[in-house]
């Protein structure tokens, strides 16, 4: 049983790590701010989300599990605001050029 849980954790966490990789590569390689923004949100939402999913079975009590989920939600919220705002800044930047 515990082996199965550990396997799930490792699988999910490393998939999450993969999305961080995708996000970073996108942030570095994509040509303009808006597409880079697109890459970034992948890392935010999916990368952290998968890591949280992977760690959930490792939680020692229900509070820890709850905290993990709240953390993910908070990062999602922050991500949403930043995306909206950054998109606006980026557009202003591009139209100014």
């Amino acid at each position: 049983m515990s082996l199965l849980i550990d396997a799930w954790t490792v699988l999910a966490v490393f998939s999450g790590v993969f999305f961080f990789l995708a996000g970073t590569v996108g942030l570095l390689r994509f040509p303009d701010a808006l597409t880079r923004l697109h890459a970034l949100t992948k890392a935010d939402n999916l990368g952290l989300g998968l890591i949280v999913f992977g760690l959930l079975p490792q939680a020692v009590d229900v509070w820890m599990a709850l905290k993990l989920i709240v953390i993910w939600l908070l990062v999602l919220i922050a991500g949403a605001v930043v995306s909206q705002r950054v998109a606006r800044v980026a557009r202003a930047q591009e139209s100014g050029q």
């Binding site: 550990d6 954790t9 490792v10 966490v13 490393f14 999450g16 790590v17 961080f20 990789l21 996000g23 970073t24 942030l27 570095l28 701010a33 880079r36 923004l37 970034l40 890392a43 935010d44 990368g47 952290l48 890591i51 949280v52 760690l55 490792q58 939680a59 020692v60 820890m64 905290k67 993990l68 709240v70 953390i71 908070l74 990062v75 919220i77 922050a78 991500g79 605001v81 930043v82 909206q84 705002r85 950054v86 998109a87 606006r88 800044v89 980026a90 202003a92 930047q93 100014g96 050029q97």
Partner: protein
Amino acid sequence: MADLLLWAAVIVLALTAAGLLRLLRGPGAADRIMAGQLFGTGGAAVLLLLGAGGAYAAIDVALTLALLSAFVSLTFAVYAGRAGTRQALGRGEE
């Protein structure tokens, strides 16, 4: 197990560090803020991995971090619309 999670933390940190290049290069404020955001997410992920690896207090730190990075982002959102902001953000490096 704990060791594996620690390695995962190393990789996430390394990846966010690579994202830091965007902070260095800019070219605009938008990119800088994105790099900062990536760092917030990555930092939270690293702390979670440390926490699940045995340092349970790290989860509370990650919680604080997540809440406050939302706060920093929102603050920036409020100020980004105000006068004087455009000069500060500039168009990137000269």
